[in-house]
């Protein structure tokens, strides 16, 4: 029993540390912190950097047990916008993202549609460790994920394509839907050239492309009419502040302007928003790093392909499912062996205990 308890404790410890390793990014943890101006130059004083209070709306996301829908209540818990949405987010810049019939749109403070629901997904902003914990617990409803200075970041899921690895495993082919606009051939992790997908983001290469099939889409920003005004190959787009927004290109953050142009090159592991012309940033310092725990990356993560017929014109759906089933199972094999050993140990222990109990009964 003691041996089993020890193994169980070790197992739990390993699992918890792997979870914590995901939440606490070492590139942010082992970093130098300082302030920069809008030209990307380090500033020595940060006296002008003060926390600005964002507008507080007396509209709080709330859930109704009666009809199982979401709406907004005021501070006295009266319904201001009645519960009729599948999910809601906090207000920002006068608008809030809400979900209806599996699509996201935006409403104003009176609950009227400003942008009718048409987006498959929205972003959940992660600007601090606390927000990351809330995200892990799937409590995005407590966070505002919307507009700032007239623009909102949005994953352009509808403009995505499927990427399939070729038989020799050396190249990636893009499965282009009918009417695909070749002008928009840049995605988060690479770009399309002559139907071939060129992977640029090597960090993602191992994690995502171990599978035969992956769904790739760009990110962008929309204005208050729902029109896509910025479209780019960046990740983790943050809210605009003083005309600049932090975005992640590759593994580092930089800043873009309202035209989508990179104005501060990506070199930061953390990038805050600009306040009075100054932003707080962190730059990864390898010398500070004492122990680097390698991130457990699961290459067997399967993509959701429920609406595959809308995109994969060239490959029939049943073939794509065959490809998906042939995923690389190598990390599961050692784990299965360990688990099998534990099962055998426990089996023998239970059998022995039963025999002892039977022997005691006979006595």
């Amino acid at each position: 029993m003691k041996k089993l308890f020890l193994i169980f404790t070790l197992f739990t410890f390993l699992s918890v540390t792997s979870v914590l390793a995901d939440i606490i990014d070492p590139r942010v943890h082992y970093a130098d912190e300082f302030f920069i101006n809008k030209q990307g130059k380090k500033v020595t004083t940060s006296s002008q950097y003060k926390k600005v209070k964002t507008q507080v709306y007396n509209l709080n996301p709330a859930y109704s047990e009666d009809n199982k829908k979401y709406g907004y209540i005021d501070s006295e818990k009266n319904w201001v916008i009645p519960p009729k949405f599948d999910y809601v987010m906090g207000y920002s810049d006068g608008l809030a993202a809400v979900k209806e019939n599996d699509k996201w749109g935006y409403i104003d403070t009176n609950g009227n549609w400003v942008i009718k629901p048409k987006f498959h997904q929205i972003f959940c902003p992660i600007n601090s460790t606390k927000e990351r914990y809330l995200y892990f617990l799937n409590k995005c409803g407590n966070l505002s994920s919307g507009f700032s200075e007239g623009l909102a970041a949005i994953p352009l899921y509808e403009e995505g394509v499927y990427i399939v690895k070729t038989q020799d495993g050396k190249k990636y082919k893009a499965v282009l839907p009918k009417g695909f606009d070749t002008k928009h051939s840049y995605f988060v992790n690479g770009y399309i050239k002559n139907n071939e997908f060129i992977v640029q983001n090597k960090e993602e290469d191992y994690r995502n492309y171990k599978n035969q099939l992956y769904y790739e889409y760009p990110n962008g920003y929309i204005n208050k009419t729902g029109e896509v005004v910025i479209r780019g190959n960046f990740k983790s787009p943050m809210k605009f502040s003083e005309g600049l927004a932090a975005v992640r290109i590759g593994s580092d953050f930089g800043y873009i302007n309202t035209k989508g142009e990179v104005v501060i090159e990506p070199e930061y592991s953390f990038a805050g928003k600009f306040v009075n012309g100054v932003a707080r940033v962190k730059k990864y310092n390898p010398q500070k790093e004492k122990e680097y725990e390698e991130r457990f990356i699961n290459p067997n993560k399967k993509s959701s392909i429920n609406n595959i017929s809308a995109y994969a014109d060239e490959i029939p759906p049943q073939n794509i499912k065959d490809i998906q089933s042939k995923t690389n199972k190598s990390p599961i094999i050692p784990f299965s062996l360990i688990l099998l050993i534990l099962i055998i140990i426990t089996w023998k222990s239970i059998k022995k205990q039963k025999e002892n109990n039977n022997a005691n009964k006979q006595d």
Binding site: M1, L4, F8, F11, T12, L14, S15, V16, S18, V19, D22, Q121, F123, C124, Y135, F136, N138, F296, I297, N298, N300, K301, S304, P331, I332, F335, S336, L339, L340, L342, I343, T346, W347, S349, I350, K351, Q353, K354, N357
Partner: protein
């Protein structure tokens, strides 16, 4: 429908393990069926939900959830079956570990 198939398969595997170990207590069998009805669909729902969000949900997170299930099932068995002779924690571990191992390869 997938949740139902997973639940039925889990119950079959777990009851088979208990039977092969030589346990014949009816209360144990019935308790396991009810406990699985309570916990198994919920676990599968949580796993699917976390997998669909933007989080980097991976294999080790699933292990952590399975460990929680072992503990919860053990506590529920303790609540229902007040026998000190039955090694309830070991039973909870072995039935969940077996169904998890088989589920990995299906």
């Amino acid at each position: 429908m997938n949740y139902i198939y997973a639940l039925i398969l889990t119950i079959i595997i777990e009851l088979s393990v208990i039977y092969l170990l030589g346990f014949r207590e009816k209360l144990l069998f019935y308790s396991l069926i009810i406990i699985n009805i309570l916990t198994n669909p919920l676990l599968n729902f949580i796993v699917n939900r976390l997998n669909e969000t933007y989080i980097d949900f991976n294999f080790l997170h699933i292990i952590l959830l399975e460990i929680l299930v072992v503990i919860i099932e053990w506590l529920l068995l303790k609540l229902v079956i007040k026998s000190k002779q039955l090694p309830l924690f070991k039973i909870s571990f072995i039935i969940n570990a077996t169904s998890f191992l088989i589920g990995l390869w299906l």
